[in-house]
């Protein structure tokens, strides 16, 4: 972003990478995949790079409103410096907080989740995909809570998957009935309380019961949880967890 500003160019979109997108080894691949898609579709975008910082979401959900607000003020200041107007987030938690909770602190932007953006790119023909890439593959989708129940986005990720000729199957608990992966509300950063099972285990069982070959996710935390679940259940040979961006990026017609 700083580079473009120096050149006097104002990019149309800011791609908000998020902490998991920047640091999580597995999710870095998703960030790369999505950036590749943006490049190929000739989207005029930039990232903040080292100027990005935590939105404050995990702190807020863990009860630390003070830390959240300080982070948020810092982020809003950065956005304002670069006169950011349109933001695309891969992480639904970043998406939710910038879209819904920053306005109360004076940060008003047009915030999009990348699933909606991908749907838009496909619908408008700005990216072409090999429709037969997943023929004979059964694909299912796990709804992230902060995307689905939180913000009512159920259709965009499904439309992205169904842009391919796939055998799409819904999980037993899907859309507004979806079961959490277990990572929300700052659970990602702590051990679970005492119980008789891990939440990701319960959710992985839903995925296994669907008989899918690929479970698509659209959230870095869901990806960690379900990938762990698949490993835990020793199903790495028959079931893979892929992000929406990876489904597209690996099968683009150039």
């Amino acid at each position: 972003m700083a580079d473009l500003k120096a050149k006097g160019h104002q990019p149309e979109y800011l791609f908000w990478v998020g902490c998991a997108g920047a640091f999580d080894k597995r999710y870095q691949k998703v960030t790369r995949a999505f950036a590749q898609i943006l490049n190929k579709a000739n989207i005029d975008y930039a990232v903040l790079g080292t100027e990005e910082t935590c939105t404050g979401d995990p702190a807020k959900r863990a009860g630390n409103e003070m830390l959240f607000q300080m982070q948020a003020m810092q982020v809003i200041e950065t956005f304002n410096t670069y006169q950011v107007q349109k933001i695309i987030c891969t992480c639904p938690h970043c998406f939710n907080i910038i879209k819904n909770e920053y306005p109360e602190l004076g940060g008003h932007y047009e915030v999009m989740h990348y699933s909606s953006f991908l749907q838009h790119l496909i619908d408008s023909g700005r990216i072409k995909i090999k429709k037969d890439a997943f023929v004979n593959k059964k694909i299912t989708f796990h709804d992230p809570c902060y995307l689905g129940r939180g913000n009512g986005i159920y259709e965009a990720p499904r439309k992205v998957i169904n842009a391919f000729d796939v055998d799409y199957t819904e999980l037993k608990r899907a859309k507004s009935f979806s079961l959490c992966c277990g990572a929300g509300g700052a659970q990602m950063f702590k051990e679970a309380e005492k119980g008789n099972k891990e939440v990701f285990e319960e959710r992985t069982e839903d995925v296994l019961a669907s008989g899918a070959d690929i479970v698509a996710t659209a959230c870095p935390f869901c990806m960690t949880m379900l990938s762990d679940g698949i490993k835990y259940k020793n199903k790495e040979d028959s079931l893979v967890n892929m992000d929406l961006a990876e489904l597209i990026e690996q099968n683009m017609d150039t």
């Binding site: 640091f23 819904n100 909770e101 079961l179 679970a192 309380e193 119980g195």
Partner: protein, 418 residues
């Protein structure tokens, strides 16, 4: 004579009910007020959808439909209850009978609904007494709660039986001069006793109205108070996206001060009240309304990922606890050593929430659990500094290097190198 007795009983009933309402109002007075954001049109639409339309309870189609039929039945039957009260005061007989065809429609549907509600209630009792349904269990549901549920159902069952008796003997007693239409009860007249018709009509009339009066006065002390609270509770629903956690303005003030040029400028201002929710005086009026609305159906707990996997958290318990604690505090009327957080709701429960909002999504009356759980976490963290150790480490990481993990901000572009 009957009229005088009726008016006296009505007076006592109303006075007792008003006393209960007054007690509840004084509980509301202890809670925090919040600004009302209007949006009357949107709220009215929502009330029609969720309350009258029963849209959320129908997420479970079969029992949902049974409940919806009972609810719609009540709407119709309430018109008859009003008529009985007017008849009781004025000594008239089915005073709405002058409405002609309208009365035929109301009385016929009321008669049909009386049977539907009766069968619904018997099915509900069967579900509670014979079937083992998981969501009717839980640490928050003691014997008292279960008895309460069964008492409420029994009341409704007797209400319907007396109403059916009343309808049957209307037809037996009046024959061709019957006021209104009773398609189902009409089928039962052959089994009715024509000799004691007048006495039995009288008996069912008094039984029905006395049950209504006693039931009405039982409700404020029962989970079944939801029949009074559900409509307003849906009207005052949270209209924001489920995962939008409201800002704490009192923290904003502190942050603004810290970031201003003169951090001590406003330091003469009295310290704001407590951060977050520790006890019932910290909750909002809407949180308390949620607690009064909760009828402990357990749809929230049934879908809670923490609860499903055997953790202590049960979203329903939060509201059962609030109501209990509020009643306890009203009884002693002064500060005690106890608090909602700690003595009723443990940190272990609060930290198990994933804020997935499945509970709030499922609640048929739009009760909002997760935001209240977060408010209690806010108390634990901001007032007591009591977060789990790993979360304190996460806070430190965000403060020091701007990410919940221990990575340097310099490495934020490493993803481009893969």
């Amino acid at each position: 004579m009957d009229q005088i007795i009726f008016i006296v009983i009505l007076f006592i009933t109303t006075a007792a009910l008003l006393y209960s309402f007054w007690k509840i109002k004084s509980n509301f007075d202890k809670t925090k007020s919040t600004a009302f954001d209007g949006q009357i049109g949107k709220r009215t639409k929502l009330t029609f959808q969720v309350a009258f339309g029963q849209s959320k309870i129908l997420r479970k189609p079969l029992v949902g439909l049974m409940h919806a039929l009972v609810f719609w039945g009540f709407m119709v039957i309430t018109i008859g209850s009003l008529e009985i009260i007017i008849d009781g005061i004025s000594g008239s007989h089915r005073i709405f009978g002058t409405w002609g065809i309208v009365y035929d429609v109301i009385s016929a549907s009321g008669d049909l609904f009386a049977f539907i509600v009766l069968f619904g209630i018997i099915a509900f009792l069967f579900r509670r007494l014979v079937m083992h349904i998981n969501r009717f269990k839980g640490i928050e549901l003691g014997k008292k709660n279960k008895t309460d549920a069964n008492i409420a159902l029994t009341f409704i069952m007797l209400l319907m039986l007396s109403l059916i008796g009343l309808n049957v003997y209307e037809v037996v007693l009046m024959g061709d001069k019957t006021i209104g239409t009773y398609p189902v009860s009409g089928l039962l007249v052959n089994w009715a006793s024509p000799v004691h018709a007048a006495g039995l009509y009288h008996f069912f009339w008094w039984m029905h109205i006395l049950l209504i009066f006693v039931f009405a006065n039982y409700l404020p002390y029962s989970k079944h108070f939801h029949v009074f609270m559900s409509l307003p509770n849906v009207f005052f629903s949270n209209l924001k996206p489920l995962t939008q956690l409201p800002l704490m303005p009192e923290v904003k003030k502190e942050v603004d001060l810290m970031m201003s040029d003169n951090p001590y400028a406003d330091s003469t201002e009295p310290a704001s009240s407590r951060f977050g929710v520790k006890d019932v005086e910290d909750i909002t009026w809407k949180n308390y309304m949620d607690a009064l609305t909760c009828t402990q159906c357990g749809r929230c707990t049934e879908v809670c990922p923490a609860n499903i996997t055997g953790k202590l958290l049960s979203p329903r318990k939060i509201f059962v606890d609030i109501r209990q604690r509020m009643d306890e505090k009203a009884g002693i009327n002064k500060e005690d050593a106890k608090a909602l957080v700690g003595d009723y709701i443990t940190p272990e429960e609060l930290w198990a929430c994933t804020s997935c909002n499945a509970c709030a999504q499922e609640c048929p009356l739009n009760i909002s659990h997760p935001n209240l759980i977060m408010d209690m976490r806010r108390y634990l963290v901001l007032e007591e500094g009591q977060a789990p150790e790993e979360l304190n480490a996460m806070f430190a990481n965000i403060e020091n290097n701007g990410a919940p993990w221990k990575y340097s901000p310099e490495d934020r572009l490493k993803w481009t190198e893969g």
